[in-house]
């Protein structure tokens, strides 16, 4: 979602200025390995799993998570991605434009879905994603994995797997990229 926020920031002329780096690329990698283990422990293997990344920030993390799961369990877990623009509750309030095509690899009915995003903030993106998933079948269970939980939830949603709990102010911004995780501000130019 950080990616999304950054892009949306553009029309208002604001840019993201990192203030401190809170996770290095190695930290992110270690967190992913741990989460992969937690997922396999919790679900007793990878047999019935589907990993779905949320566009756009969750997709690279979801890909890496699938690779980590394969290293441990030697199984290819189906992988897909989801753009939730059409399911958001703020359509018409701010520009909500679909960015990428949704691709769900199989019918989700009876499967356990691991939803992956980079940052969990208000919970509204996840709420939209749950609605979107329902259109692709009745999953047996949906679990949520995020790299950063920054708080400020507006809906009763909680993650099952967390890379890092990061206390933030509401007006700060969290950016997850290949360079790790940074905390910073949106600043008017």
């Amino acid at each position: 979602m950080a990616e999304r926020e950054r892009r949306l920031a553009r029309p208002s002329g604001q840019v993201f200025i990192p203030r401190s780096f809170v996770m290095s690329p190695e930290d992110v990698k270690r967190a992913l390995v741990r989460i992969a283990h937690e997922i396999l422990e919790h679900n007793r293997g990878a047999a019935n799993l589907v990993v779905i990344g949320l566009q756009t920030g969750g997709v690279p993390l979801a890909k890496r998570l699938v690779a980590e799961i394969k290293k441990i369990d030697r199984r290819d877990v189906p992988f897909g991605y989801l753009d939730v623009a059409f399911y958001r509750d703020d359509i018409g309030i701010r520009p909500v434009l679909p960015e990428e095509v949704t691709q769900i690899p199989c019918d989700l009915t009876g499967r356990t879905v691991i939803l992956v995003d980079d940052v969990l903030f208000t919970g509204r993106t996840v709420r939209a994603a749950l609605d979107a998933l329902a259109d692709h079948g009745r999953a047996k269970a949906v679990q949520l994995a995020v790299m950063v939980d920054r708080g400020h939830r507006e809906l009763p949603i909680r993650p099952d797997y967390i890379g890092k709990n990061l206390p933030t102010r509401r007006d700060e911004m969290v950016d997850v990229s290949s360079e790790g995780v940074a905390l910073g501000d949106l600043v008017s130019q």
Partner: protein, 358 residues
């Protein structure tokens, strides 16, 4: 001035979009195309929005296409046709559209036999107006779906999606003078860089082609081997009341895409037709159903393109229709992460970067 559709209120002409606007819609249509391919092809994106189709002229595919598009986005639809309305009692166009606007419509899809009617309507109403064909002027969504269909066929061949048509030579064949499709298509194809040639009898060509980014010829056979795309127009017999060509048979023999003629075309040529087809006049049945013909893809893609258009106009913050959220200020202050009144700390000045990269 051309601006992207998401910042516009109306879609009246391809000329308003420009290259960037066209490319933006083509790219966005991919996401809507995916929705159409689902087992349940419906998303809640435009819940609570009302789309009215106002057809002052007959139509099957355009109207059904817009209604399908609106329904796939969960918008409500309302339809109006002139023949069964109070216009029969003499109500004017203005009174009619203002009445419908007053019911709280977010978008009006307007088709009219007079050029410029949708533009007039857009001056009178609060709703977003989409031109679904006005006289011999324009039919912008048709041009967009044609571009999307060509892009789709090319990407199936090359494996990559490209909006650059600069390697393409496109022939538009037939009744150009009565065709709004031709006008919109010429603008769109040329904006994407294609070389466009108009083919038809001089009597069916517009009186002046001065401003058109095209070449023209009366010799269809002479160019057949050179074209990558052949766009066959419908002979608009209902608009032709004088002798513009001797007989339908002669028209067919010189300008029809007959089975014999189709054999001389390049192996990988793409054949498009906006429909409805006069089979056996401008195009032979065998050609229209052949492997190079994209006619049914055009119809299918029409729904996805119109979803993209409706969504871009109605979901953007520039939309000031009749929705309660209409008075948005460009969405600027509505970001989830924007500072809100009452927050204890609001940073106004950029803090010095303490731990910068590197």
């Amino acid at each position: 001035m051309t601006t992207p559709l998401a910042k516009r209120r109306h879609l009246l002409s391809v000329a308003d979009l420009g290259r960037e606007g066209i490319v933006e819609i083509l790219k966005r249509t991919d996401t809507f195309s995916e929705v159409s391919d689902r087992a349940i092809p419906k998303v809640p994106a435009l819940r609570g929005k009302m789309v009215a189709t106002l057809f002052f002229e007959n139509s099957t595919r355009t109207r059904l296409s817009f209604e399908t598009a609106a329904k796939r986005l969960s918008a409500d639809t309302m339809s109006f046709s002139a023949s069964s309305s109070s216009m029969k009692k003499g109500e004017s166009l203005r009174d009619t559209v203002e009445t419908i606007d007053a019911m709280g419509v977010d978008a009006m899809v307007v088709r009219h036999s007079s050029s410029g009617a949708p533009k007039l309507v857009s001056n009178w109403v609060n709703a977003s107006v989409i031109n679904a064909g006005d006289g011999a002027h324009e039919h912008p969504t048709q041009a967009l779906l044609d571009c999307y269909t060509i892009r789709e066929a090319l990407s199936a061949r090359s494996g990559e999606k490209s909006e650059d048509f600069s390697k393409l030579r496109i022939a538009i064949v037939g009744d150009v003078s009565h065709s709004r499709v031709a006008r919109s298509d010429v603008l769109a194809f040329a904006a994407l860089g294609a070389r466009v040639t108009l083919v038809g009898p001089t009597t069916l060509m517009p009186s002046t082609l001065e401003d058109w980014p095209t070449s023209k010829t009366c010799d269809l056979d002479g160019i057949l081997q050179d074209v990558d795309v052949i766009y066959v127009l419908r002979l608009q017999l209902e608009r032709i009341d004088e002798a513009l060509f001797p007989t339908l048979r002669e028209y067919r023999s010189r300008f029809g895409l007959t089975t014999e003629r189709a054999r001389t075309l390049r192996e990988d040529v793409l054949i498009l037709h906006p429909g409805p087809m006069n089979r056996g006049v401008e195009i032979d049945s065998e050609v229209a159903s052949g492997k190079n013909a994209l006619v049914t893809r055009q119809v299918r893609n029409g729904v996805s393109v119109r979803m993209a258009v409706l969504y871009s106009l109605l979901a953007s913050s520039g939309h000031t229709g009749n929705s309660v959220l209409g008075a948005s200020n460009g969405g600027k202050d509505e970001f989830e992460d924007a500072p809100r009144d009452g927050d204890e700390i609001v940073l106004q000045t950029p803090q010095k970067t303490r731990a910068h990269r590197g």
